[in-house]
Subunit: 147 residues, 2 copies
DNA sequence: GCTGCAAATGCAACCTTGTTGCATTCTGAA
DNA sequence: TTCAGAATGCAACAAGGTTGCATTTGCAGC
């Protein structure tokens, strides 16, 4: 089982069955190279900097949306209310375990615990999604003195 | 120190030593009456609805800021990246049960199920909050034909 | 290698959330 | 009652995020 950062963007996209486009490849590569989850603005800046062809702002949003939808990226909200994205992988299944979100750096960490089962709903209610959100500060951010 | 659970907005404000203004009193009252944390927009809508005198949008932000600063309100970021505010010292506690969020009407419903216990964290990680987010459509929205 | 169609993109416009500056009004202590 | 500092209202701004629509592009089928 390859780790998150080893599979090529092209192969990841083909594996999940969505089109391989220049934009998606560039975004996945950027997320894989990142040491921390990136905001939309950070990705846009970096992509605009190291490439002759800039990526449209809206297209970037839609690329991130599509990557999250197929599980190739994870999305979290940092303490300032900004979405931050990190690379995931097809080979890594995220359904079977709980995630920890660092509210400081926006990082998402896989825990070993199994997700809780959904509760009983009142009559007529229809369940669509269940999300167990565990938040706090990761080891790195907890060690670092507060800003 | 006065009991935060039973004090009136006026007394709460006097206790913490900031000025008692019409706006602050109304906001505290709204937060105390709320069954769940409210967004800035929700507070603004409610205050605009049941009062002849609407509250300026910016003033509301500054009121919430001041209440958080003195500890009379709590601020959190929800999964959509929006700040939500709750009164500190209200009687309705939401820690003891799970919530259901209707993705259609936006309503939040208190369920009878107990929240799952937080999982074991890796060394150095610090837990801040655990949120069990159950989403879907409520009874009313499920019954109504899709728009 | 073509062809055709759905998927993806670019662009303009728009919405929401949150902030800043400044003149005016209000609170509450002296 | 006075009045300085705190709070408010209004206008303008900024960033994050979304929507609609015309155009381009990936890629499956031939
Ligand atoms: Mn995971
Ligand atoms: Mn509740
Ligand atoms: Zn962290
Ligand atoms: Zn509903």
């Amino acid at each position: 089982m390859a780790d998150l950062h080893s599979a090529s963007p092209d192969n990841l996209l083909r594996t999940v069955g969505i089109k391989v486009t220049r934009g998606r490849v560039r975004v996945i590569a950027a997320l894989q190279a990142a040491r921390q989850p990136m905001s939309h603005a950070e990705i846009g800046t970096q992509l605009g900097a190291d490439a002759a062809v800039p990526l449209d702002r809206v297209t970037l949003y839609r690329i991130l949306e599509s990557l999250v939808a197929v599980g190739l990226a994870l999305r979290a909200v940092d303490t300032r209310g900004v979405f931050r994205f990190s690379a995931a992988g097809t080979l890594h299944r995220h359904e079977g375990h709980v995630h920890f979100r660092c509210t400081d750096c926006g990082g998402v960490f896989c825990l070993k615990a199994a997700p809780p089962s959904p509760p009983k709903l009142p009559r007529g209610f229809r369940l669509a999604a269940v999300e167990f959100d565990v938040r706090g500060t990761c080891a790195v951010c907890s060690a670092r003195p507060a800003a």
